[in-house]
Amino acid sequence: MQPVMRFKPCFFLTCLLPILLLLSAGLQADSRLVREAFQSDRASQSLLLDITTAGQRLVAVGERGHIIYRDPGQPWQQAQVPVIAHLTAVHFATAELGFAVGHEAIILRTTDAGVSWELVHHETEESPLLGIQFLSETTGFVVGGYNLLLMTEDGGDSWTFLGDELPNPEEYHNNAIIRDTANRLFIAGERGMLFRSIDQGASWEQLPLDYDGSLFGLFATPAGDLVATGLRGNLFISRDAGDSWQALDHDGEQTLNGGLALDDGRLLVVGQNGEYLLGHADQLQVFTLPGRNSLLAVARQGQDLIAVGRGGIHTLPLSETNHR
């Protein structure tokens, strides 16, 4: 036993520790997602998960590190992206400064309106990131699976974990984060979770909702209303900054993923299997896209309403045809 005892202190410090360090370094290097995204003519037809505007430009993100952008009247172009991760959300703080997030807690940053991207955050063992929102050029938040909430105050250089501030003891997924016109932050998530922060993320409260299915999308209207979209056609609106929520009635049955408010006050909500709702909150009509591709998000460029989802880019025909 004697020699063994003699080696024991050495064992941890000189042998095991370097091994642990090597292992942790190895884990980082082991990621297979840090790889130039494959340039493909078909990127605009691949699975795209979010779309937003950067000034006049549309920017969409999706599977395999695909980021594509389009200026008005131009064709889609694929950006240079250093990862092939599943990118789930994109958001621009200004017309040039933007962020995209994805699995393995990957956060990408662009300063040229989406043409090229740099990797600013990556933890292989961390949960997927699912939503992103900035309040200014420096302060921003991302949400993700298993109660993940990260915050940056230096424009994305460093990120701190903020999940402990959320009243979410079961660690349900946080699926979406937005702000309203008054800079209040809202998070929607699994099991009907809705959170609000009125102090730029310092503290959070849960909002009451009479529904315990998952919410996937959240958007604010210019009028200041909030709309939450969820499983199997569940759709809720709040006209009092989240204090109370009412279910919106319509004939759709598919899960709703996201949407936006049109200039005339109508809502456009997109969902699974090509279903989308259009109309004023109290008279939503149901449409189905031929091909029935699931839709995740929608954005506007001039007169075009561009939805993304399975099959990539889909231009929504906003006529009364295709009524179910």
Partner: protein, 773 residues
């Protein structure tokens, strides 16, 4: 003919001194082999059509059992005829159930693997607040009521099977039936299986519903059925040949005996094939024609020689002996070089081609006995008819205007122009032949005609379903029990995407693809989770839902299925190169990317083997023919005179193929070897006569004139009979037989022209003209 005074060689005495004994021998052998020949059955197997030692195929064979269902399967699309109707009617569902039941119990079908709407394994799923919801697509409570049909319609939409089992237009659905290799220890009989499918089609389609069937087994069944019809062409060829022989000889005996002997050659060939354990597949189905045509052409030489000898006043026996004596060297040489020419096809590592080589070589070897021996023996009893002899005598005395003109091809003022024209043709042919392509150039099953039932069905299914029938499977090998590893799946996923970006790839399917969808399903259908997880638990759980054929028992193989737009040679090369490039970059201890299974994978391997063998085979067949000619005539001048015109024909034939859009494939590869092997006969017969007359001191043009007088007519007649024998194939319902017919007809005719036109031109410069010596 001045062979009268030469001494009878031993071989002649061997046959002619024992004539009755030999005739009895021939009779007995014919009866025995005839009884064998009657048992020859048409057959075809998958393995015989593919190059077994190609690395792609070796990989495939090794993994065949793990790829069950990805290999050999037939698809039956049960369709609604009325354009205003769809599949959601009680009548349709009932009919579909009948088809499903019939197909499942067909011998040869892997019963448990049959997929259809009626299969309980075909399910729909849906995410709810409580988790997954799902069930069979046809509801358990299905009672043909409108209500249950409405439920069915909804389930179909939720099942994700639209484009796979259900047509995009909802007017047909597929019954997919994977096949087993053998039934009760016997290899699957494709013809019988195909007929059983036809029975189902006949019984269960009517003015309301139709059944469309595709798959390798159906294709082979149709090929065998079509190829068997060539028996009819055989009868036609027989009739035409008889008429020609009669016009040629004006003698019934001289017409019927060569035909009988030639048919005996075919009987012997088929009987020997059966004895050696071979059958007739759609590719070697044409060999008996070829043997018959070659036999007739040699028979004509014998009859022609006998008539000439008889016109010199010899009796039947002497005339027969002299004809034999004058022809046996050239005849045996010609037939042996035919046989060896065919044998060069053995170098191609595709069994149907090898069997075709053996069958053809056997056939021409048999002709030596039937038409060079049996024919003169029979004629020594029967004799050439009087009219025929008188004609030969009269012809011999009068000068022939036609042959006189042809003899000018050897003249010093014509020969150089002939050679120049040949050179120009050769250059043109060479330029044209550079467009020659390997493999299939058309869509569908190019073995059959574009308007055949099979190709119409194939076009229908390709049009109405998302997945094409041209499938290339990349086999991804992982360590045992490690097929679920993140590293392997991630690499598979990347391969899949890169391949989807290769021109000609229409879509893909892989365990990674399905796993991703299942993972999204576990996450309430949220597509933001539709990616591979690093969490092994998640992967294990997702992959436990993989359908059969996507994962094997040892968990060491992941198939990546690429659906191609077509199976044109260019497409196959482009895709396989892309896979190989990916493999070279990404092979690791976690995953090795190997080609190839699936119809397109096998075709890619076949194309490579054919491209490799094509040049090699051409060089070899020419080398063999040249060597044989050299050994026989002991002169390199003879080699040029005889072989150079053949070369022109080969080049022109390749240009013709390119022009007609016929690719080099299993069916057409043998054509050039066959053409060269048979084409050399003309040269040999002409050259041997020409040399003889030159040795007797005649000048070149006279010698060539006399050659033409004695054998030119036989040679041109031979070219014609051969061309007619194969020309009837043009009407075959099988496209590749028609293609072979066109090409062989061209080669036989052009070889004849080459021999009559170019051989004397070469002779002008290469052979000594004794009159000038």
């Amino acid at each position: 003919m001045n062979t009268t005074h030469t001494k009878a060689p031993a071989i002649e005495n061997l046959f002619f001194n024992w004539r009755p004994l030999w005739l009895i021998f021939f009779l007995l052998v014919t009866v025995f082999l005839g009884s064998q020949a009657l048992q020859v059955k048409p057959e075809a197997s998958f393995e015989k059509l593919i190059p077994l030692s190609h690395p792609y195929i070796e990989n495939f064979m090794e993994r065949q059992n793990d790829l069950r269902g990805l290999g050999n399967a037939v698809r039956l699309a049960v369709t609604v005829k009325d354009p205003s109707q769809d599949i959601f009617t009680a009548e349709y569902m009932e009919r579909l159930q009948q088809v499903y039941d019939e197909v499942r119990f067909l011998p040869g079908v892997d019963q448990s693997a049959v997929r259809s709407l009626w299969d309980p394994a075909v399910r729909w799923t849906q995410v709810t607040e409580e988790g997954f919801e799902g069930g069979t697509v046809i509801p358990d409570t299905y009672d043909a009521s409108q209500e249950s049909l409405d439920t069915l319609r909804e389930n179909v939409l939720k099942s994700g099977q639209v484009g796979i089992l259900i047509a995009n237009d909802f007017r047909s659905t597929i019954v997919l039936a994977p096949l087993v290799d053998s039934v009760d220890g016997q290899p699957l009989d494709y013809q019988a299986f195909s007929h059983a499918l036809e029975d189902i089609r006949a019984a269960l389609s009517d003015e309301q519903f139709d059944i469309r069937i595709i798959g390798f087994a159906k294709l082979v069944g149709d090929l065998i059925d079509g190829a068997t019809q060539v028996a009819f062409f055989f009868v036609i060829a027989l009739g035409i040949t008889f008429v020609l022989l009669f016009l040629y000889s004006r003698c019934f005996k001289s017409s019927i005996i060569p035909l009988v002997c030639s048919v005996i050659a075919v009987i012997w060939q088929l009987g020997l094939l059966k004895l050696m354990g071979y059958g007739l597949d759609p590719y070697s189905m044409l060999v008996p024609f070829l043997v018959f045509a070659i036999a007739v052409s040699h028979g004509v030489q014998v009859i022609n020689a006998m008539a000439i000898e008889a016109s010199h006043g010899h009796d039947r026996l002497t005339a027969a002996r002299l004809a034999f004596r004058g022809l046996y060297v050239a005849g045996i040489l010609a037939l042996v070089s035919d046989a060896i020419g065919f044998m060069t096809l053995l170098f191609i590592d595709i069994q149907v081609i090898q069997e075709l080589a053996i069958a053809a070589a056997l056939g021409v070897a048999v002709i030596i006995l039937t038409n060079l021996v049996l024919l003169p023996l029979l004629m020594s009893y029967l004799g050439v008819g009087k009219t025929s002899v008188i004609r030969a005598e009269r012809k011999r005395q009068e000068t022939s205007e036609l042959w006189h003109r042809v003899s000018f091809f050897s003249h010093k003022s014509v020969a150089p122009w002939s050679l120049l024209a040949a050179l120009l043709l050769g250059v043109m042919g060479f330029v044209g032949s550079t467009n020659l392509q390997i493999g299939d150039l058309d869509e569908g099953a190019p073995e059959l005609r574009p308007d055949s039932r099979y190709n119409l069905d194939n076009a229908y299914i390709t049009r109405n379903y998302a997945t094409s029938a041209d499938v290339l499977v990349v086999m991804v090998e992982t360590p045992e029990q490690a097929c679920v590893s993140y590293e392997a799946l991630e690499a598979v996923d990347r391969l899949e995407w890169q391949m989807r970006n290769v021109e000609g790839v229409q879509g893909s399917m892989s365990p990674a693809y399905i796993t991703k969808r299942v993972i999204a399903g576990f996450n309430e259908g949220n597509l933001k989770w539709e990616t591979l997880s690093r969490n092994q638990f998640v992967l294990n759980q997702a992959m436990s839902n993989l359908p059969a054929g996507m994962i094997n028992n040892q968990c060491d193989l992941l198939p990546v299925i690429l659906y191609l737009e077509d199976h044109k040679a260019d497409t196959l090369v482009r895709v396989t190169r892309a896979v190989e490039a990916f493999a070279a970059e990404n092979n690791s201890e976690h995953a090795r990317f190997m080609l190839a299974a699936g119809s397109a994978g096998i075709e890619a391997a076949t194309n490579e083997e054919i491209a490799r063998a094509q040049t090699f085979m051409l060089i070899f067949v020419y080398a063999v023919v040249a060597a044989l000619v050299f050994i026989t005539f002991r002169s390199w001048r003879a080699v040029i005179c005889i072989v150079a015109p053949l070369g022109l024909t080969s080049v022109l034939c390749q240009a013709l193929m390119a022009q007609l859009g016929i690719g080099v494939k299993v069916a057409t590869l043998p054509v050039i070897a066959l053409g060269v092997g048979i084409g050399v006969d003309y040269g040999i017969y002409i050259y041997s006569r020409l040399r003889q007359y030159l040795r007797e001191g005649e000048n070149l043009q006279d010698a060539y004139y006399h050659t033409l007088r004695s054998t030119g007519k036989a040679v041109s007649f031979t070219g014609l009979t051969l061309a007619i024998g194969v020309g009837t194939w043009v009407f075959s319902p099988i496209k590749f037989q028609a293609d072979m017919g066109i090409l062989l007809t061209f080669m036989f005719l052009w070889n004849m022209i080459g021999a009559l036109w170019l051989l004397p031109a070469f002779a002008r410069y290469l052979l000594k003209d004794p009159s000038k010596a």
